[in-house]
């Protein structure tokens, strides 16, 4: 007996459905960017990564730069970014994305090169590579996903974990006297002369998503100016490791995360530096 027979014991009823609408009758108001690979993502429900992947790919689609964009994926939850973004990509060793991106960009200065890194990857093991790449003013865009935990390894303390925040390796809450305070990456890196544009955004509301999209668009548009590094820090939701529902996680960002990581532009280009574009 097949499954269909099992769940449908009687004859299939004849339904009187209204006639189908054709595609032409609808106005297209939203579509998934063509630069995304049409596949199932491995991310948890409510995770920020899938959303930010999409925003980056929207930027690539809108700017028409699919053929000239090379991404660098990190080690962390977004290690499979290259499975979802339909562009040429390289998977870097943990923390080394900015060094890998330097190798790519220096050889192909006219291409758009970006890294996509989490807080363990960028702010812990890879902070030297990140800081020196920005100090050299590498003309790359760094997309920095800050969700205050190590996601892939299931919720250990990160350099960005909030004071008092419970993680699997800070079970009694982050003790600042023992581990120090969370690193404010955007503020730290904005001090470097090589940083051209530094901003911190989030994606926990429709407005926040729009602002992040705009920030990413700017960061990509500035790249051909060869004026320095663009760093877009994004406060990411991590409901699974925060042990919250997606809605609670979004609230947690507004109520707790932004106290340590205030949103907004930290370093913006001078008007005359961007007048070409």
């Amino acid at each position: 007996m097949s499954i269909d027979q099992h769940i449908l014991p009687g004859p299939v009823p004849v339904l009187n459905l209204p006639p189908c609408h054709t595609e032409e009758e609808y106005e297209m108001v939203y579509h998934k960017p063509s630069t995304m690979v049409d596949t199932t993502m491995h991310y948890c429900p409510g995770c920020a990564h899938s959303l930010v992947h999409k925003l980056i790919m929207e930027v690539v689609e809108e700017m028409g730069i699919q053929e000239t964009t090379i991404g660098v994926a990190p080690v962390g939850c977004s290690v499979f970014a290259y499975d979802y973004m339909d562009i040429d990509m390289q998977e870097a060793a943990h923390g080394r994305a900015c060094a890998v991106a330097t190798g790519i960009k220096r050889l192909m200065p006219d291409k758009y090169v970006f890294t996509y890194q989490g807080d363990g990857d960028l702010a812990a093991i890879g902070i030297a590579e990140t800081l020196h790449a920005i100090n050299r003013g590498e003309n790359i865009c760094i997309v920095f996903m800050n969700n205050a935990v190590y996601g892939m390894t299931s919720g250990q303390m990160a350099p960005t974990t909030l004071p008092g925040m419970h993680t699997t390796t800070s079970p009694d809450g982050r003790d600042v006297s023992y581990y120090g305070a969370p690193i404010k990456v955007a503020e730290l890196m904005a001090n470097l002369p090589g940083a051209f544009y530094v901003t911190r955004q989030s994606v926990n509301s429709a407005n926040a998503v729009r602002r992040t999209k705009k920030a990413l668009l700017n960061a990509f548009k500035y790249q051909p100016l060869h004026k320095g590094t663009c760093l877009v820090e994004i406060i990411g939701n991590c409901p699974s490791n925060w042990k919250m529902t997606p809605v609670e996680a979004s609230k947690f960002i507004d109520e707790e995360m932004i106290k340590t990581f205030p949103l907004g532009d930290i370093k913006i280009p001078n008007a005359e530096d961007i007048k070409i574009y």
Partner: protein, 356 residues
């Protein structure tokens, strides 16, 4: 007529890199190979090539990863402690099958060790070094000329097999000055478009460089593919030099600087009536096991001479497989044996094996 120049090994290597069409060099200063970065910092910009002093060896090997992954001919060089730092990146490069040239101007260790020549990095070079199952083709120059020649060879082999190639030199070969001829070189045409990340045109699927295969079934397939490549390398790329083997009763086995010293020791021993030959492995991976196995039917004893505590001797014994005694003599810590010292040791061993 050939034109010779008088150069340091490190400089000859750097000049050869330019002539070999190296698009980018990423490095970090460390004695005894800082001349490479200095030479290229001066010369590469004249050829519109990229040279960069990275913030660490960790960064430089990952810059090599990025540039190699984008399809460019690229290299780095360092000395022992720096090469240790690069092992992570080398493992990723091997896993992602990226062609590049890495040069180790070996100094004595362990730890910070000393800046004088050593061969203590043999195991690290030929047996793995980084994590996981991978192999590098390892070339061991014994002269300034070979430090130049093996740059071309190294790049070509790297491209041919999509694998990192290591040139394992030492502080003496890197620092000493000898005559060198830069031979005419034609770069083989290699099509990297099937994998290099140069930007995805509409006409092809995306290229991505990775060493990650999370499903064990796929990981094993990738491992088996790499193993097949290493098998091809073992079958086709074994290189060695042998001197005076025709009538030999004894055999020195030595590479790089040790082989230079053994050549002199061989001359002294032969004047004393000891029929000894020299086998100098040029590739340390793949290793000339087969030739050693053949010579084990001919000679009465082999002596592996190294600037370490006895590393390559294990590979000599693997090749000989118990057929004849394989002995070892070495100095460490940046100290080098004299030819007379080696001959004295040889004579003692011959006496010992004659009595027993």
């Amino acid at each position: 007529m050939a034109e010779f120049k008088l150069m340091k090994g490190n400089e000859a290597m750097a000049e050869a890199a330019i002539l070999a069409g190296c698009d980018a060099y990423f490095g970090y200063p460390i004695t005894p190979q800082s001349e490479v970065l200095e030479y290229l910092a001066r010369e590469m910009p004249k050829h519109n090539r990229i040279v960069m002093q990275a913030e660490s060896e960790v960064a430089s090997i990952n810059m090599v990863y990025g540039a190699a992954g984008a399809g460019f001919r690229t290299m780095t060089s360092s000395s022992s402690p720096g090469i240790s730092l690069m092992q992570e990146g080398i493992s990723y490069i091997a896993g992602a099958e990226l062609p590049c040239l890495i040069v180790n101007v070996n100094r004595a260790g362990p730890g910070l060790g000393t800046i004088q020549p050593g061969q203590g990095d043999y195991f690290q070079s030929v047996k793995g070094g980084g994590h996981g199952d991978y192999k590098m083709i390892v070339l061991a120059p014994a002269s300034v000329q070979e430090m130049a020649d093996f740059v071309y060879l190294g790049f070509d082999l790297a491209d041919k097999y999509r694998n990192p190639v290591l040139m394992l030199s030492d502080g003496a070969i890197g620092q000493m000055m000898e005559k060198v001829e830069f031979k005419p070189y034609t770069r083989p045409v290699v099509d990297k478009s099937a994998w290099a990340t140069t930007g995805k045109p509409k006409s092809r699927n995306r290229n991505y460089i990775t060493s990650l295969f999370i499903q064990p079934e796929r990981m094993e397939v990738h491992n088996l593919k790499l193993e097949e490549k290493f098998k091809q390398i073992r079958e086709h790329e074994v290189r060695f030099e042998e001197i005076n083997t025709t009538d030999a009763e004894y055999l020195f086995v030595a590479y790089g600087l040790s082989a230079r010293i053994c050549q002199k020791a061989m001359d002294i021993a032969r004047e004393k009536g000891i029929n000894i030959a020299l086998l100098r492995p040029i590739t340390l991976y793949p290793y000339p096991y087969q030739r050693l196995h053949e010579l084990a039917s001919q000679v009465k004893m082999m002596l592996s001479v190294e600037l370490n505590s006895g590393q390559m001797v294990e590979d000599v014994r693997l090749g000989v497989n118990g057929k004849v005694p394989v002995e070892f003599y070495g100095r460490m810590g940046g100290m080098m044996p004299t030819p007379e010292e080696i001959v004295h040791h040889l004579e003692t061993l011959i006496q010992y094996h004659h009595v027993n």
